[in-house]
């Protein structure tokens, strides 16, 4: 029986190849990492002698060794706040790596951790990003920076002052967005083998890109980039952006191998993962919206404190700037003021996490849109309609520099209201309210950016600073196709997938392009930087596949066919323009008896170079790197097209709050998506469902929580609550398919979509439910305890 995806048979039978399943090199030893129990502490001394004396222990690596053997990771803060793969002078968050034990096996390595004595001097900690900046007594994390502000940028578009002067109504809210991460079920895993004879370092890991981290690791280790080889297996157990931030461990385990002289493996355990791998930032913000009486948005101001934790780990400050081109969401206002602080605190480090910065953005924007509608006594759906960018305006240049490719936002809204029977829901709500029930309806709209432009990262610098540097741009993805002498095809993709079905989709589309059966095509995923084609933006992040990944595959296939067509024309003694390709055969137009099969044309390229047309190289091995001409560096006004395709989602949900327990029940959720042409509805639906549940987790359950002294509270899956089978409400999705003019198949990314709007939508719905009590949801997650406290307070005030 045919399975739905090519990936499925191996994964269903236990034959996948995940990182921890690989046979890499012989004699692999194991690492265990000693981590700081304190949020902020000076490391006075580390005594590893007892550990080193233990049988089976090879070496103990400390920050002192790491500072000698490597350099800090390069970042937007060139010479400050040095970030190494081990703490050097101070520990700045609970779980920060302090030392690495290398031993014969994992059990022994973990035993040895207990024998390392670290002399810490505890220091006061700060965890709130706003307090870290404004409180003069807040401890300073990095003395050389002298403040906890890692970066501060003010960005101004249009004339925000004028917009606020003209406003009939202004609403302003303080909002808190929590720290959470997608916690892929497979944790980080690394095997590093230093080859002293050749001075090469080979690192196997479940890193999923961007491969811009390859030069970052090479520079940190001080080794030539062509001596550093990254190998990634074909299967990765979920990523969602989190596994981008594995790269400091690639350096660390690489150093451990070099230091100990043996190949070293490290598999992160779940406690380490929760306390120290990666998450989105927690954000404290003030969002202010100016509107006219009819609900037209005139301008927005945002003051943002984004908490990147103890160090500044690239690609941060993507949390703040990755969505810059779509800061206005789906709305047509032109005036925007952004005051962004990227802040150090004693929390763990942050990085890309599904939606990267967008859940934060839309939580702010969509909350104030709702409050404006409420203040004006207007329907939240109608207020949104009034402000949507009209279909005729695409491609649409946003004030922040985004170039929205295509979309029919109003059609999404119409479909949403109709599918959900919005009027019926409101009637039902009115009725429920009469019976004292707390029923609410919430909206959230968002623009879903995909294929980030490498240029956006330079927004961290001012236009003047940028002038002194080389610019960055582009969003390249490469594909390699080889056709063997029997016409069988092998495709190497460079998207390092983590469950997004790339093998299936590439095989299907290349089969269509080449006019051959799918079974004749094998797709190789994973990566080997020494032997395969890759470039800086390679990998899977920023929903790249359905935009640039598949475009790259299709264009590569077309190049293959073009070459085979030239070979066939030469063989058929016809001009290439007179040759057509039908059903796997090249044939002369008007003379179908003069034909050559696909595999015979391929055979000539391998077996008979003498019969190739002049100037044609033997073999069929084509690599094509595809980029987006729209991915340009920021301009002098700080405008940047931070992504390259932009989808749209219009969400609506119905909730009920239990007065007694504070529990929120999401009764139903609707989402309408315009992500261009949908390449496969079943797979797209899977991506939306998964991203919906990640959004739900952030809105209602998941938080990497700290007490105010910096102690970490959610170190196991018993405390960090991922939604299970029992927490998932019914989701109904609909599609509006406006083709993207910028991609080969008209498709765009969709994997992050729902996760960006769900937190805002649930907050708006719960606020709507609690409106009769005057309660607003301006912080997440909406846990029963939180809601119960609000209810108690409202009652005592009433």
């Amino acid at each position: 029986m045919d399975l739905y995806r090519v990936e499925d048979r191996r994964l269903l039978t236990g034959h996948g190849t995940f990182l921890d399943d690989l046979s890499t090199v012989p004699n692999v030893h194991h690492a265990a990492i000693l981590r700081s129990p304190y949020p902020h502490a000076r490391i006075r001394n580390i005594d590893a002698s007892k550990a080193l004396a233990m049988e089976g222990v090879d070496a103990v690596l400390t920050g002192r060794d790491v500072a000698k053997m490597s350099r800090p990771f390069a970042s937007a803060l060139p010479r400050q706040a040095a970030y190494y793969s081990l703490a050097v002078d101070k520990a700045r968050f609970v779980g920060e790596p302090i030392a690495v034990v290398v031993a014969k096996d994992r059990y022994l390595a973990e035993d040895a951790l207990a024998l390392i004595d670290v002399d810490y001097e505890q220091l006061p900690a700060v965890v709130d990003p706003e307090q870290a900046v404004i409180d003069p007594d807040a401890p300073i994390l990095h003395e050389d920076v002298g403040t906890n502000v890692a970066l501060h940028r003010t960005l101004r578009y249009g004339d925000p002052e004028e917009a606020f002067r003209q406003a009939d109504v202004v609403v302003k809210r303080r909002l808190r967005f929590p720290k959470y991460g997608s916690t892929p079920l497979e944790t980080f895993g690394v095997v590093a083998a230093w080859n002293a004879a050749e001075d090469t370092l080979t690192i196997w890991s479940n890193f999923h890109g961007p491969f811009s981290m390859h030069p970052v690791v090479a520079q940190a280790l001080g080794i030539p980039s062509n001596k550093l080889r990254f190998i990634v297996p074909g299967d990765i157990g979920g990523g969602f952006g989190i596994k981008t931030s594995i790269y400091p461990y690639l350096a660390l385990i690489g150093l451990a191998s070099r230091f100990s002289g043996v190949p070293v493996k490290w598999i992160e355990d779940r406690q380490e993962n929760l306390m120290a791998s990666s998450s989105g930032t927690d954000r404290v913000s003030e969002v202010e919206l100016a509107a006219a009486n009819d609900g037209t948005i005139l301008g927005v101001r945002m003051k943002i404190y984004d908490n990147v934790g103890g160090y500044f780990r690239p690609p941060e400050p993507g949390c703040t700037f990755r969505p810059l081109g779509n800061y206005v969401g789906g709305y047509s206002f032109r005036n925007l003021d952004v005051d962004a602080y990227i802040v150090f605190t004693n929390k763990s480090l942050t990085g890309p996490n599904r939606g990267y910065g967008c859940p934060h953005l839309y939580f702010g924007l969509e909350r104030v849109v709702d409050e404006m509608a409420h203040k004006l006594g207007l329907d939240p759906a109608e207020v949104r309609r009034r402000n949507l960018i009209p279909k005729a305006a695409f491609p649409y240049r946003t004030p922040t520099g985004g170039l929205y490719d295509a979309g029919d936002y109003e059609a999404c809204l119409d479909t949403l209201l109709e599918t959900a029977d919005y009027e019926g829901l409101r009637r039902m709500q009115a009725d429920a309210r009469q019976h004292g029930r707390l029923v609410g309806i919430g909206f959230a709209f968002g623009v879903d950016p995909s294929v980030s432009n490498m240029g956006y990262v330079d927004i961290a610098a001012t236009p003047e600073e940028r002038k002194r540097r080389r610019p960055k741009s582009g969003a390249t993805q490469g594909t390699t196709i080889q056709v063997d002498d029997l016409g069988k095809v092998t495709v190497e993709i460079s998207t390092t997938p983590q469950g997004q079905s790339h093998e299936t989709m590439v095989r299907r589309h290349i089969a269509q392009e080449l006019g051959i059966p799918e079974v004749d095509i094998t797709v190789i995923s994973g990566m080997d930087t020494a032997t395969r084609s890759w470039t800086i933006p390679s990998g899977s992040y920023s929903s790249r596949f359905a935009s640039i990944g598949i475009s790259s595959a299709v264009v590569t296939a077309r190049k293959v066919l073009e070459k085979l067509g030239r070979i066939a024309a030469h063989q058929l003694e016809a001009d290439p323009s007179d040759v057509e390709y039908v059903d796997g055969n090249f044939r002369v137009k008007g003379a179908p008896e003069r034909s050559l099969a696909f595999r015979h044309a391929a055979g000539i390229a391998h077996w008979d170079p003498a019969s190739l047309p002049p100037g044609t190289d033997p073999g069929i091995y084509v690599t094509h790197f595809h980029t987006m001409p729209t991915a340009l560096p920021p301009d002098d006004e700080d405008r940047v097209n931070s992504s390259n395709t932009y989808g749209f989602m219009a969400d609506l949900c119905l909730v009920e709050v239990d007065r007694e327990t504070g529990e929120v029940e999401v009764k139903k959720y609707w989402g309408v998506h315009d992500s261009g042409v949908i390449l496969d509805h079943k797979i797209a639906e899977g991506q939306i469902q998964g991203s919906f549940v990640h959004g739900l987790g952030g809105a209602m359950y998941e938080e990497m929580a700290y007490d105010e002294d910096g102690a970490f509270l959610t170190g196991t899956f018993m405390d960090y609550l991922c939604p299970t089978f029992l927490e998932v409400p019914p989701l109904e999705t609909r599609y509006v398919e406006t083709p993207s003019p910028f991609t080969v198949l008209g498709s765009k990314g969709i994997g992050e979509s729902a996760t960006e709007t769900v937190p805002a939508c649930i907050a708006n719905a719960v606020t709507d439910a609690l409106r009769p009590l005057g309660i607003e949801v301006n912080e997440l997650p909406v846990t029963p305890t939180k809601v119960w406290n609000w209810l108690q307070q409202a009652q005592s005030e009433a």
Partner: protein
């Protein structure tokens, strides 16, 4: 090191013992230290990499195996506890990779797996459910599988796959029909 291994407790922890167990119908004899986790034993010593580890503290369910016919978390057991036991791992569900069980096929058809990391545990747990209750309701599936985490799919497609495998012959799936 010497001082770590003097007490009786340490001796008991470190001295490997021989155990014999049947895994996927095949008898294995192997040495295992008393503290060796069953999940490590299966993955490293028996080289059956299909059983995955997602938390090692009994919450995610990725490591679920059938232990004497019952679903069990191999990360919460020691290898020595498997002495004399009959175990089925994901590798033992299908007769061969070309002859999948109905449950495995419906997982594929319903797109109930993305990265596939949770899938072995999901399949084992659903197999156990269907052999106890061949026609579960939607809510019975959810409750029976609430101890299995998936971070990719958002669960709905998995529920559909289990129900489809149960419905396909009207009286329940043949997922439990291994060796």
């Amino acid at each position: 090191m010497a001082e770590m291994r003097t007490g009786h407790l340490e001796d008991a922890l470190f001295e490997a013992r021989e155990i014999a167990c049947t895994v996927n119908g095949k008898l294995y004899r192997a040495m295992a230290e008393p503290r060796r986790l069953l999940s490590d034993f299966i993955r490293e010593d028996l080289d059956l990499k299909g059983t995955h580890v997602g938390c090692e503290h009994g919450v995610c369910g990725a490591c679920t195996i059938l232990f004497n016919g019952q679903p069990a978390r191999s990360c919460l057991m020691f290898a020595v506890q498997a002495d004399g036991a009959e175990i089925v791992t994901v590798e033992g569900l299908a007769r061969s990779p070309q002859q999948l069980t109905r449950l495995q096929e419906s997982f594929s058809q319903e797109h109930a797996l993305q990265c596939g990391y949770c899938t072995p545990g999901m399949l084992i747990s659903a197999t156990a459910l269907l052999s106890e209750n061949p026609s579960p309701t939607d809510s019975e599936v959810r409750h029976a599988m609430a101890g299995q985490l998936c971070r990719c799919t958002g669960y709905e497609q998995i529920v559909r796959a289990v129900l489809a495998a149960a419905d396909s012959d009207g009286k329940g799936g043949e997922g439990g029909n291994h060796a």
